[in-house]
Amino acid sequence: MAERSFEREVQDLRLGAGEVFRGEGILAITKALLQSGVAYVGGYQGSPISHLMDVLADAKDVMDELGVHFETSASEATAAATLSASVMYPVRGAVTWKSTAGTNVAADALSNLASGGVTGGALIVIGEDYGEGSSIMQERSHAYAMKSQIWLIDPRPNLEMLVKMVEQGFELSEATNTPVMLEVRIRTCHVHGQFVAKDNKRPQFTLRQAMENPSRDVNRIVLPPASFLHEKEKLEKRWPAAVEFVKSRKLNETFGPSEGPVGIIMLGGLYNTVLRALQQLGLADVYGESAVPLYVMNVAYPMIDDEIVAFCAGKSAVLMVEEGAPDFIEQALNTLLRRRDIQTRISGKDVLPMGGEYTAQVVVKGLQAFLQTHALPMLGNQPPIPDPTPVLHHEKIKALAEVVPPRPPGFCTGCPERPIFAALKLTEKELGAHHISADIGCHLFSILPPFNLGGTTMGYGLGPASSSAFNVPADKRAISIMGDGGFWHNGLASSIGNAVFNKQDGVIVVVDNYYSAATGGQDIPSSRARNARRKTNNSIVDAVKGIGATWVRQIDRTYDVARMRDTFREALTTKETGPKIIVASSECMLNKQRRVRPLFAKAVAGGERVVKERFGVDEDVCTGDHACIRLSGCPSLSLKHTDDPLKDDPVAAIDSSCVGCGNCGEVSEAAVLCPSFYRADIVFNPTGWDRFMARLRGAVIGWLQHRRESRRIAFAD
């Protein structure tokens, strides 16, 4: 079950013609898929498109009614391969993932799919994880579209446009026998807006019909000589068909005056930002009126040469606004104009930065530079441009910069991964620092303070694979980390299988938190929850043993820090060769709390005897060294300034958000830190026996306490 429930949003998927859909961009796309008569949807979760997967997972009833098959793919490669259903059969399919990370994984299938071509519409919704809020390397998915010849749609970021482009995308795919990518940026995925809905459509041709009436065409399979034919067909048939389709449907748009000394060409996704920049320069308004001619490429690939040429006609210069490197479109523009011998100057990355997110602030600067060179009079009546620099240069703000700490993401309160890294840190205190290969997932937060563990991250499920070279005799072993998500995505074969086969003499930790936690708590094969639609509860230990691993340790409570540490020590020092695999399992605390809290509240309300655990710190005992925090970083373990005039430094303090995971106590015990921590067990609805025993103990203990205190001379507090 995913972290966020979309029960309410699922109802919006049922909206019929004329009703207004209000919500997030990514949900609008989901609704658009259903309005397009899609027959199957697959994908792999990840920001910023996790919600698309989550809402579909929650929308079982709607999907069943419409006869849409939904699959949580094992990886993006699986998702891309799923689209092969549309190769021979006129069924529409859509898949989704985070890009470019996911597109990298899917590339093999995508190349094959694009080569042979499709019959039914094949749409790939990619969440372009670029700029602020991104969690991956900064690259452009555009390159994949070009190299595999997949059409790339980059719509203006409003819901109406997104929906339209999903619908047009399927048609484009079918008209050109080519898969289509729909690129949505992070903010577009999360943009709240509205559009007028249409009725959902059942698929015209079903998967069942396809399975019962199989057809094949050897010319659609990527094998010589067909593969050479595919290349020819791509360039000679599918490309012109796409150009014709985009032109006739007017998928690209022009705004502003029909003529002008200069113009701006931009990708659809950047339209709002460019417009805001123009607005700040006094050259556009908030209702989309522009004083500069604008050509908006809602289709980023292929470029429609004739439209470009027409737009450039009569203009001395044109500015190309495309985000990220390389400047694929600017290069193409230059080639086009040179080929056609058109003298319009192309500006772009000369005035705009080559890399980084194009914010309004960045675009304003670029536009100013462009207009200064090519159309100075347009800058004439310029209103004051928002500029925070005088504020930022003030000494009070400079002093502030010294005080505001960075706040990167980290392990949540009670996270079961925290004790794993606390134990690893303790192990390193004994055995010295080791090379640690990290992976993708929540556990990657170990690279940040306070743990500062992990040297590289090479891809999902590739942590142990990235330790492959460190398989030579040495006094220390390399350690690799991998999450359960990465394990099932790719790690079982690429990392574990490889390590077993090559007798990799290292230590592999599989962090098993029962979910694909970093992407929002979706189920995976080893999830322990029962899921009616999937087969869960598949053991990671069985899987690694099945692939040939022999030294395998299962730890079923990661909070047992001493045991974690001892297991690390054993794995790092045992004489046994080959991979030493530690499967460290405890449920993701975010998900656990969501699961357990309502049950607890119900039990309390029902008068049941239940115990709630919470940790605390004796502030008189704590000396304010914060060694515990350096082995934790838990949000609920914080600091408190005391009024004790004899104490200089703030003491550790645990706030009410503590979920009683046990890490603090276990760490202070295993690391021999200090005796300040206590665990309080609060008994709700105590039984008669509880109360009797409490009274009895209270009487005896109270007597002893009173006895001592009465003999002691002390100041009244």
Binding site: P48, S135, E160, R187, T188, H192, G256, G260, P261, T273, R276, L283, V286, Y287, E289, V292, A360, Q361, G380, I385, P388, V391, I397, L400, V403, R407, P408, F411, C412, P450, G616, D620, V621, T623, G624, D625, H626, A627, P635, L639, D644, P645, D649, P650, E666, S668, E669, L673, C674, P675, F677, Y678, D681, I682, I701, L704, E709, I713, F715, A716
Partner: protein, 516 residues
């Protein structure tokens, strides 16, 4: 076509959307707040767009939500921005003090237009918490900056207010926004939206109303520096003749400047051991006070005596197993614990203490001769360690657990003769001798030597690490004794020692001092 721009300009509308940026930490409900604002705007017939970049920031990191809203114009949908432009934001809402600071650093808060609505509570970042000293950011610097940068500041502890009303900070922040009149919507519009929420609506409304009223009555809370230290005046009667004598000694023998600290020290010494120990403490500080007077302490507000009052108390009331056990079994502690965890009267509370004694602590608590005897025999010491060295979890609310710690705390009466005490005394005297030695040459440096006691803290490894840093800093004192700025340098060394666990900053600082 050079007039094209001019022609275009004439047609352009001057309308601008209202822009609102929300800076929050993952898990604070920034998304809920953004949704509420959008719903309020839409319910009033305005067009509203919100966006966010949660990404992995949902896992406790800093994140931002952004909203633009404006009235519609004859069916023409506006083109709204998906991100705030620095210098172009009307309302910034920060769900924590340092996030307010971050919004200023991002340029989102400017004096010409921005209303800053900030909660002043602190959620310390790891970078602040992990320092061995006090790494917390100064709230006064943030307040200075926000007051300067914003057109208007509404700032108070919205978290506490929300919790008090059984709700989440998002509801309180919405109340502050409504009361700020930064958006042209009536209070009722907000309340309708909040009230329509599924569960927790009534609590949310309560928090909303409380924040609304608070914003109207006292919108700006003065920045709070960390909790002030409690310095009690000397009481006229302390409740026992022996205690009265102690108080009389403080009053009679010491300068006024040091008296409240001495009173705190005396209380600590009595609490740690007994009245005799407190007298011993006063004797020890008294001899330092005499030296202080002799070396011009009068003109320096008796700084040496004051610091001695503080740190000799700390050194005398060192952290040993007896003290820990003593604190854990007290009735006052039982009551405080219940209070801290918020247990209701009808609930039963157990508490498990996490202790990890080692042979070192056991020997320390033994009579000096016996303890030293064992320590000198590695085999015996090792055997003892194997026997005691493991984590022990003790429930002090059960008789068995209570008695264990009760007995350990009972060793207090024999403390003065134990091995640890002898060592503590020796260490203390060496430290004080160092201060006395430099006093004639360099008064300020002597004061600073006393302050270096701050480096000794913690238990077991932490304690040894602290001691080693203390020793390394102390070793620099002879080098600094002849310098006028010696005290500043020693202070810098002390600060460096409190920067990180490994002592990297201290290494650097020592290198610098060595090149002086």
């Amino acid at each position: 076509m050079s007039n094209g721009g001019e022609n275009g300009l004439k047609r352009l509308s001057r309308e601008k959307p209202l822009s609102i940026a929300i800076l929050a930490m993952g898990g604070q409900g920034g998304g809920v707040l953004a949704d509420w604002i959008v719903e309020v705007a839409e319910s009033q017939g305005w067009v509203a767009q919100s966006t966010s970049v949660p990404g992995v920031a949902q896992r406790t990191g800093a994140t931002i939500y952004y909203i633009e809203t404006l009235p519609p114009r004859d069916g023409v949908p506006p083109v709204l921005s998906l991100m705030p432009t620095p210098g172009d934001v009307d309302v910034v809402m920060a769900a924590e003090l340092m996030e307010a600071g971050r919004s200023v650093l991002r340029g989102l808060v400017t004096p010409d237009r921005t209303t800053l609505i900030a909660s002043t509570h602190r959620a310390y970042a790891v970078a602040e918490k992990e320092r061995p000293g006090d790494g917390t950011g100064d709230p006064v610097v943030v307040a200075d900056a926000t007051d300067f940068a914003a057109r208007r500041v509404i700032a108070f502890d919205m978290e506490q207010l929300a919790v008090k009303n059984g709700s989440m900070i998002s509801a309180a922040m919405l109340g502050a926004l409504a009361a700020s009149d930064a958006l042209p919507f009536a209070r009722s519009a907000y309340e309708t939206v909040v009230g329509a929420g599924a569960k927790g609506a009534s609590a949310s409304l309560k928090a909303f109303a409380a924040a609304y009223d608070r914003t109207r009555s006292a919108p700006r809370e003065a920045p709070r520096p960390p909790t002030p230290k409690r310095l009690d005046a000397l009481p006229s009667h302390a409740g026992h003749p022996e205690l009265d004598r102690l108080v009389a000694r403080i009053r009679g023998e010491f300068p006024a400047e040091a008296q409240s600290l001495l009173f705190a020290g005396v209380k600590r010494a009595v609490d740690f051991q007994d009245v005799a120990y407190a007298n011993e403490y006063l004797d020890r500080v008294g001899s330092l006070a005499a030296l202080d007077r002799a070396h011009g302490g009068q003109d320096r507000h008796f700084a040496l005596t004051c610091e001695a009052a503080k740190y000799v108390a700390v050194a005398m009331a060192y952290d040993d197993v007896i003290r820990v056990a003593d604190i854990k079994v007290r009735a006052s502690r039982f009551a405080r614990l219940r209070n801290e965890i918020g247990a209701k009267p009808d609930q039963i509370v157990h508490s498990t203490e996490y202790l990890h004694p080692r042979a070192e602590e056991v020997c320390g608590a033994l009579p000096a001769g016996l303890g030293a005897f064992i320590e000198a025999r590695p085999a015996l010491y090792g055997a003892l360690d194997r026997f005691v060295n493991r984590g022990r979890r003790i429930d002090v609310r059960r008789l068995g657990g209570f008695l264990q710690l009760y007995l350990v705390s009972g060793l207090r009466t024999m403390r003065r003769g134990n091995l640890r005490h002898g060592r503590e005394v020796a260490h203390r005297e060496a430290w004080l001798a160092r201060a006395i030695e430099v006093l004639p040459k360099n008064y300020d440096l002597a004061v600073e030597v006393l302050r270096c006691r701050r480096l000794v803290k913690g238990y077991s490894d932490t304690h040894s690490r602290g001691l080693s840093k203390f020793d390394r800093v102390m070793a620099m004192v002879p080098k600094l004794a002849g310098r006028d700025d010696g005290a500043q340098w020693l202070e810098r060394l002390k600060r460096a020692a409190l920067m990180d666990e490994a002592g990297t900053a201290l290494d650097g600082a020592i290198k610098t001092v060595e090149t002086l």
